[in-house]
């Protein structure tokens, strides 16, 4: 699929290579029966787990985790949902739902209840079809909030709408309970609005250079014309005047007709009505950038790191679009660029001159690739890992401090020789020290620092952190870095990371985990 909409300031190219009916892209994998078990959308992966019977039992992303349980007949009887709390970084368990089914009605769900037995929803059946839904509770603990939705569907089953007991629209948005559904010919819900349009920070004539931040497609237009574009229905958008728009319009028209609100012409709302509706529900734009943020963005635009033509980085990287999220316009306001992120991490974990790599490993010194920038996603961010080097060359003779951001607590190793150990797989001697955060901005984060220098003890001198960095009670007593944001725990490039081997530079690598799961370091430190 290839679509773009310069008018709306969006570039939503989606191009996939298919082989044997499967998407042949990095991050897309299938099980032996051809079921998709992993896919990648932008920088976020979605994992699916199937049971032996081939039923989907778990769907997991970086922000949500759904588990489904089945009875012996293969009917869903329980659903558990966990969502990631962005503020705390912890997984919040949502109320577990149980489904009560009726054998008389062929196993259909007649009621949903919470774990404590409270009724959530009951379904009212007509002749063969469901005609209404009674929602008894908004959540497990909320006050009684009883709502009845009446459901409508056309004969083909392609359009679905709901009303309340007064015959008014029960829901107009997409995604919530009672939301309108429009299906494509294959039965997939395509919604009633384009999924590709997201809200964009309005153009600020005072800072025209910020245009590059919006991927180069942002027109030099005023706010109102952009606003009109954002408010358009899918049928009004370029490229959607055919099947997609037609289905949506047809469904809405039929629905309005049933409610007695039939309108002439293609649109059932006049322009005045649309405008009035917009005024009632203004969109929520991001907060305007602060002066500091604007200055940072201006500097960013001036660096030319981002290709304003394709949203990719300018080195021709095949990974660029993925690493940079593809479209800068969709990034969070405080999200750092790849380059900025590496600099920030270097400043937090390394002494003066240190360099860091989360994606583009600058330090490969191997044969003809010597000195070249190499993309190493599997070894770095995809493994929840980054490298910290002594300097841009990873010089072996440089002794540069290794730091951890303030607030870290040392976790005593469980090994007999403390931090030093022999890798059971390849016999290599290494050391590793673990720190964790129980509060503050990195609460829930654990850091595993491998190849730490400045250590002593053990068979290879890598067993314990230096006495100038930690006391006998396990409290970090090392010096603060220049910015007073990190505490020294040793030096970069310890056991097996000394850089004495040709092709391998002096470095320490750090595994980042949050709540027990490895996580892209850029998500923890750079707002990704």
């Amino acid at each position: 699929m290839h679509k773009s909409d310069p008018k709306a300031g969006q570039n939503f190219d989606k191009t996939f290579d298919y082989d044997n009916n499967r998407i042949e892209e990095a991050g897309w994998t299938y099980d032996e029966d051809g079921r998709n078990v992993q896919n990648l959308s932008g920088a976020e992966a979605l994992y699916r787990t199937f049971n032996a019977a081939g039923r989907l039992v778990r769907t997991r992303s970086d922000s949500a985790d759904f588990r489904t349980y089945y009875d012996g007949d293969g009917d869903e009887i329980k659903r558990r949902t966990d969502t990631l709390n962005d503020e705390t970084g912890l997984w919040d368990a949502q109320p577990t739902k149980y489904y009560i089914r009726s054998r008389v009605l062929g196993g259909r769900v007649v009621s949903e209840v919470w774990a404590n037995g409270k009724k959530h929803r009951s379904f009212v059946k007509g002749i063969g079809n469901q005609t209404a839904v009674q929602s008894a509770y908004a959540s497990e603990t909320a006050q009684l909030n009883e709502v009845v939705l009446f459901e409508y569907s056309d004969a083909s089953g392609m359009s679905y709408r709901t009303t309340n007991k007064l015959g008014e629209h029960a829901a107009t948005g997409d995604g919530g309970e009672g939301s309108p559904i429009e299906t494509d010919p294959l039965g997939g819900n395509i919604g009633t609005y384009t999924p590709f349009i997201t809200l964009i920070e309005p153009f600020d004539p005072e800072y025209p250079e910020l245009q590059t931040y919006n991927n180069g497609y942002f027109p030099q237009s005023n706010f109102s014309s952009l606003y009109a574009s954002l408010g358009s229905r899918i049928a009004d958008l370029p490229g959607f005047g055919t099947n997609w728009g037609s289905f949506a319009e047809l469904g809405m028209a039929q629905y309005e007709e049933r409610l007695g609100n039939s309108r002439a012409g293609r649109g059932f709302l006049t322009n005045e009505e649309r405008e009035a509706r917009r005024r009632r529900t203004p969109p929520t734009f991001r907060a305007p950038a602060s002066p500091e943020e604007r200055a940072r963005l201006r500097a960013l635009a001036a660096t030319g790191i981002f290709d304003s033509e394709d949203g990719d980085n300018d080195d021709g990287s095949v990974w660029g679009a993925q690493a940079f999220g593809g479209n800068m316009a969709n990034q969070a306001k405080d999200k750092l660029s790849q380059q900025e992120c590496d600099k920030k991490i270097a400043g937090h974990f390394g002494g003066e001159g240190a360099d860091a790599a989360t994606f583009l490993d600058l330090k490969i010194q191997l044969g003809e690739f010597k000195g070249k920038t190499e993309e190493r996603p599997d070894h770095l961010y995809k493994s929840g890992t980054f490298h910290i080097y002594t300097d841009e060359q990873g010089s072996a003779d440089e002794e540069v401090g290794l730091y951890v951001p303030n607030g870290a607590q040392f976790v005593s190793p469980s090994r007999k020789t403390a931090g030093e150990y022999q890798d059971p797989i390849n016999g290599e001697w290494k050391n590793e020290f673990v720190f964790k955060y129980n509060s503050g901005p990195y609460s829930g984060v654990s850091l595993y620092l491998v190849h730490v220098a400045g250590t002593y003890g053990g068979d290879h001198g890598g067993a314990f952190l230096g006495r100038e960095f930690i006391n006998s009670a396990g409290r970090l007593i090392g010096s603060q870095n220049a910015a007073k944001i990190s505490t020294q725990i040793g030096f970069i490039g310890g056991l097996a990371g000394e850089g004495k081997v040709e092709g391998l530079n002096r470095h320490t690598h750090v595994v980042v985990k949050r709540n027990g799961k490895r996580i892209d370091p850029r998500k923890v430190f750079c707002g990704w």
Partner: protein
């Protein structure tokens, strides 16, 4: 016809390289030592980059003098191949040909990497140990996903749940 010619051409290249490779025992550096998991990763990634999508990567395994386990050489070979074809998630999958060679003549077992028929690098392993590839971190730092990735390679290949 064109397909048959391509296969024949590939076969000739492979045979030619194997002949050269198997006869190169004496050319292995006597001071070749294991350079660690991270170096191994870099070397194979470099080979893959150099080979691109058109060239064949040939891996030849040679057991070391003190490798007591018969299968260890084949396991290293499998791991190197799996790393190139399964572990890395770059878009293009290279063509990899593997073969067992004669003894390395040294203490350490060796995996030789040939790209375009030329020796690109040699990766040494400690006696009776696997070839260090993939995750170079401790098992304690693993999570569900990294354990699953480890299970693509030896020694976890057939026992991913026991990690």
């Amino acid at each position: 016809m064109r397909g048959i010619l391509s296969i024949a051409y590939l076969f000739i290249i492979v045979c030619f390289t194997l002949i050269i490779g198997l006869g190169q025992t004496n050319k292995i550096k006597p001071d070749l030592i294991p350079r660690g998991c991270e170096y191994n990763n870099i070397a194979l990634e470099g080979a893959r980059k150099k080979a691109g999508t058109r060239s064949v990567i040939i891996l030849i395994a040679r057991p070391g003098k003190k490798d007591r386990l018969k299968a260890i050489s084949e396991r290293r070979l499998y791991t190197a191949r799996a790393y190139l074809t399964s572990y890395l998630t770059l878009p293009d999958e290279p063509t990899v040909v593997t073969a067992n060679g004669e003894n390395s003549g040294g203490l350490y077992g060796v995996i030789e990497i040939y790209v375009t028929g030329i020796l690109f690098d040699s990766l040494a392993s400690y006696p009776n140990y696997e070839l260090g590839l993939g995750s170079c971190d401790s098992l304690e730092s693993d999570d569900e996903d990294s354990r699953a990735k480890r299970s693509l390679l030896y020694p976890w290949l057939f026992r991913p749940k026991k990690i």
